[in-house]
């Protein structure tokens, strides 16, 4: 994939589908960016621009998106997108395989906003020694923001900068007794490390 732009667009109401073959699990999300073909690492994509989009009413995640190089300030690969009202996470940023092995040392996600998700607004569980996040905005999420590293290593680092985490807002979850979802909520989960790492999409039925 080369020279692809998705901008100012809106993706919504993506439902879970039941495939006829019970041995196959569908790979779900509203917007899967270069993550689909190779489940563990994603596939190489070049000159990708994903900016100013909204993904709403998603299953599993709003976006599964390749991360930026650490210290990058100008990348438009995944920037200023918003996701909300998901049965799942807002975004799952993963190390970008198109940059060789650099992102297995360090990668970052920046300028993403999410609200009303049942899983973290941003979560990462992928093979890298360092993950950084800048300028995230997380509003009214059930599970807290969670940045993890994965793989073997000694000095493993998760860093969060200049971000905003809000609690409940005027946009009520329980406006009346009908259709109400009242759950305990978290702003932040303790960051950690998992040795195995996770697939970008759920690989098989459990």
């Amino acid at each position: 994939m080369r020279n692809f732009t998705l901008t100012n667009s809106f993706v919504a109401d993506v439902r879970q589908r039941k495939l006829l073959s019970l041995s196959v699990v569908d790979k779900e999300t509203c917007v899967a960016i270069c993550s689909y073909e190779l489940n563990l690492f994603g596939s190489p994509c070049f000159d990708i621009t994903i900016t100013n989009n909204i993904a709403a009413g998603c299953f599993f995640a709003g976006f599964i998106a390749p991360g930026d190089e650490c210290n990058s300030t100008t990348s438009l690969k995944f920037r200023d997108n918003i996701s909300h009202s998901n049965l799942g996470a807002g975004a799952l940023p993963y190390p970008d395989v198109s940059l060789g092995t650099n992102q297995n040392q360090c990668y970052q996600v920046a300028n993403f906003k999410s609200y009303k998700t049942t899983l973290p607004c941003v979560a990462a569980f992928y093979h890298t020694k360092e993950i950084r996040a800048y300028n995230l905005t997380c509003i009214d999420q059930e599970k807290g923001l969670n940045l993890q590293t994965a793989g073997e290593g000694e000095k493993l680092v998760s860093k969060l900068y200049d971000s905003f985490i809000y609690g409940e807002t005027a946009a009520d979850d329980c406006p009346n007794t009908a259709n109400c979802r009242c759950k305990k909520k978290e702003g932040l989960m303790l960051f950690g490390h998992n040795k195995q790492g996770k697939d970008l999409h759920i690989p098989s039925p459990s």
Binding site: F10, A12, S85, I139
Partner: protein
């Protein structure tokens, strides 16, 4: 060649090797076919300076077991298809695409409030996105009346779900996030739809193709203000609009809507030079 029939018979297949243009004479045109292959030529509806004025509809017919189009060994084209290895350019009329709820609405209400001054009209279809935690709380409705001065929209039936709205954006309070419910227009005057039969939708495929003489056909597509609905095919990766191995051409998908899909809305796979902007992929 110009197409000026208000409704064609259902063609078994249509292969375009020259230029086929929908006639701009103020009349609605409806092209019906089981397969359309735009090969060494182009299919045109409107143009940049003169978007199509009346309604242009392409209906893709057929059931799941319909005869399939075979292009190459590497691409599963399938059936009920508009396949593009040449050039397709469709330009519909620009519309007011999306707004926000300016007041909260609850289940059972048949009126919503949005911004005034839109071009929405009776019969337009709209989508209301979920605003709470429940991802499935979407509503699809048809406009019975829109008051351009007040922004009040009367709906064809009561809403099923609660959607949060407010007179002013919440962006100033929440670091740039406007949490008011999105309301999206689904209707356009240039439409591609799958015949509603067998729970099997239509599909648009853009790809490249090498002729036996070595000629490289580079699939290119421009959709501006186009509506695609009742498309994509269950239990397959045949999305409503699919770019697969479209390497050599350039494609733009702008101001368009893909909705009511039976599986994936869009799939951009091993393809280059694609620009998607101000477009809406809703319900899949």
């Amino acid at each position: 060649m110009f197409l000026d029939l208000e409704e064609t018979p259902v063609l078994k297949s249509l292969e375009i090797n020259g230029r086929l243009t929908f006639m701009q004479n103020g009349k609605n045109i409806h092209l019906r076919s089981k397969q359309i292959l735009v090969r060494a030529g182009e299919l045109l509806i409107g143009n940049v300076t003169h978007p199509f004025e009346a309604n242009a509809t392409i209906t893709l017919h057929g059931v799941q077991k319909e005869e399939t189009l075979v292009l190459s060994n590497s691409i599963t084209a399938g059936n009920k298809i508009l396949a593009v290895i040449g050039n397709v350019k469709f330009y519909g009329k620009p519309r007011s695409q999306m707004t926000r709820l300016t007041a909260t609405v609850f289940s059972g209400m048949s009126e919503i409030s949005v911004e005034p001054g839109l071009d929405w009209k009776t019969g337009d279809e709209i989508y209301l996105a979920p605003t709470a935690m429940q991802n499935e709380h979407s509503d699809y409705r048809t406009i019975v009346d829109y008051d351009e001065e007040s922004g009040i929209v009367k709906l064809n039936k009561p809403l099923q779900f609660y959607h949060w709205g407010a007179p002013l954006s919440t962006a100033a309070e929440y670091n740039g996030v406007d949490m008011r419910g999105e309301v999206v227009l689904l209707s356009r005057n240039v439409k591609i739809r799958g015949e509603d039969v067998d729970s099997w939708g239509g599909q648009v495929l853009v790809t490249d193709f090498f002729e036996t003489d070595g000629t490289w056909r580079k699939g290119s597509l421009i959709f501006d203000n186009v509506q695609i609905y009742n498309c994509s095919q269950q239990d397959t990766y045949n999305s409503a609009i699919r770019f697969e191995a479209a390497i050599g051409g350039y494609s733009n998908l702008t101001n368009s809507v893909v909705h009511g899909s039976m599986a994936w809305s869009a799939n951009f796979y091993r393809s280059n030079n694609i620009y998607v902007a101000n477009s809406y992929f809703i319900g899949s």
